[in-house]
Point group: C2
Chain length 294, copies 2
Amino acid sequence: MRRDAGKGEMGMRKVSRIQEVRSFLREASGRSIGLVPTMGYLHEGHLSLLRRSRKENDVTAVSLFVNPTQFGPGEDLEAYPRDLERDLALLEREGADLVFAPRPEELYFPDASTWVEETRLASGLCGASRPGHFRGVCTVVLKLFQIVGPTRAYFGEKDYQQLQVIRRMTRDLNVPTEVVGCPLVREPDGLALSSRNTYLSPEERASALRLSRCIALAREAARGGQRDARSLRETARRHLEEDPRIRVDYLELVHPETLEPLETLDGEGRLILAAWVGKTRLLDNGTLCPEAGR
Amino acid sequence: MRRDAGKGEMGMRKVSRIQEVRSFLREASGRSIGLVPTMGYLHEGHLSLLRRSRKENDVTAVSLFVNPTQFGPGEDLEAYPRDLERDLALLEREGADLVFAPRPEELYFPDASTWVEETRLASGLCGASRPGHFRGVCTVVLKLFQIVGPTRAYFGEKDYQQLQVIRRMTRDLNVPTEVVGCPLVREPDGLALSSRNTYLSPEERASALRLSRCIALAREAARGGQRDARSLRETARRHLEEDPRIRVDYLELVHPETLEPLETLDGEGRLILAAWVGKTRLLDNGTLCPEAGR
């Protein structure tokens, strides 16, 4: 699919200014551009997005930006893990063409006053726990879309609500970018990959396995014929609450596109949860099907 | 400037679907595109934008769309004047290349839930009188920018606050479009051109002249040395209030970019007003300078 692998072979370009992105991509005119927006501290989940983008596009750009406007007061903006050198080495090895790692001042004017807000899918779940979070996400993603002009943009299903919110925002605003959702990547023992896993102590790391396990338990119950959403949720929730290190933030069974809570599992449903493991808030989610799980 | 006048000579293309806009403009790849967003019922003000766009771009697109999301409850959405046949004839005569006249369902999904909001410049003046108005404006303008991908977009200074809000929105969201503001166009007797002038009775039409006159009076006072903003505002307001057909909605002297109210006319200021003439709400504005008016 990469009609011109020239850039990849000539090595990766790393820039921090919007104008540099635009001039780099001006030369890509007529070729397809894939964008992988990240907050850095890359793991295999991010790299799976990059590989998918490289397969499907002529040029792949990756952004590394810990976006301040999606963090609330008291959240982990300052503590969020960063390792630019390691990220760049990984991206170079994986064949990214362009890396955009701006400083916050490059993306936000001091008197910035414009926001992009999705008001329906973003209102529950993480949106309820983190007011303003998705406003920050939508705003920065739209900005990156305007800067890069991607043909396709890649987001992981680990942040499932974020993916659906961005899909909706992109549709509603007629942004000419295809939003591609990619499967969640897990450790061999089932833990969903997240940059925030680095916060976990060994004991918390063991407890955190319950997040994926509780989804598997609900999936088994669904496969066994249980279609009542409350019962499926309780199956999952009980497994989390058995562990005193875990505090559930939310746990819902929702429609996979509208994110509306389900009462009965008639078609595919998404079990989606956020839980504190010690001082670390982690997300997980997975598909439940009435007859056969996936 | 029009390197390829082929399209103009081949006649104007009129479309109502987003996909048709995209395929028409795909062929314009590499050429500059000017966009003139309008609500139709065109007058010389709109045509001045079109002529400017034709001078500065290879291809000029005009949109005709009475955007429902920028009208509040009880406003004149239904009554807003429309005359598509006449508009198309004018645009053809003036050499527009593409006219995009969508139905509301083409631009808004029934479950649309994403909004673009500018929160600073849009909060006062018309934003205070018409809650939600600029949210609707910003959203539809961003959508049109995504659909057309214009190099430049043209807006009249008659809607001065709108122009500044769109400038700010475009800057904040890194939209790669240059926003071009064009001078207000007036009737020979001074009335600012507006599609809503068609609502005026002959008596109201005569009263409406006070809008431009009151700005001229304030400008004369400024030229005469008056720098106190309150006094300048009162000069203008008194002239409006002498006429019982007129009710002032707002009248402010503001900084031309930030739209912050001025206390003293130190540099250039913008006198900006909205007033009801009978049942018609009209806008006007103009520059005041401490020494010499323009």
